[in-house]
Amino acid sequence: MAYSNKVLDHYNHPRNVGSFDKSDPNVGTGMVGAPECGDVMKLQVKVNPETGIIEDAKFKTFGCGSAIASSSLATEWLRGRTVDEALAIKNTDIVNELSLPPVKIHCSVLAEDAIKAAISDYKNKAGVTTQETATA
């Protein structure tokens, strides 16, 4: 089974590769996967705290071409969405967009999990910050 052209394009020209400062309160980091399983995905979102819109997203992925393509696509989709809209991204959307074969579906699952992990990290941080301001 060959990779689709979209997968190859994302693999050869990955979008939004990089990292944000993890300690930035507006940045949510999601790290999913394990090296033993062959895939580790780190996805970060930078949220505008006033509008709740994801202004920027970056990723780094250790894994196969599909994993790299899935996370690259995820960062493209995340930009400009609100946090809640981001949570609506389903792994099946990624599968359809990239025409992933059945054996590579776990890559899209990993990308969805990475999005959820990043958003939940951001929400935790935002929650903590509000509590701190409340007590102060």
Binding site: V32, A34, E36, K60, T61, F62, I68, V109
Partner: protein, 116 residues
Amino acid sequence: MSVTPTGATARKAAAYLEVIRPADPKTIIPLCFNPTEYQISKANMFAEIPVPGLETPLIQYIRGDSEKLSLEALVDTSDTLDDVRVTYVKKLRELSPLYEMFKEGVDLTKVQWTAH
């Protein structure tokens, strides 16, 4: 052995080979060639012609073969003569969160991963 392909000069190969498949002469595969062992052979064929009355037979030259160069060539994954270790390993390292953690000094064996 002929034309030096682009990029090959940087590799400091001792020689350059071009492999041309007999079935498909348009496909030319350039190779960096760093020989550790190769063999040049040349053979001539002679025949003994027994002549009655002569103790030793006459030696007659039959034909000569052209020189042959034989060697073992390892064809690597690159067809552009770029060093695949540099081109791909570097690219994948830049993409890898693990390499980033490694550079930050994180002990990867002690990280709690969310297994899948």
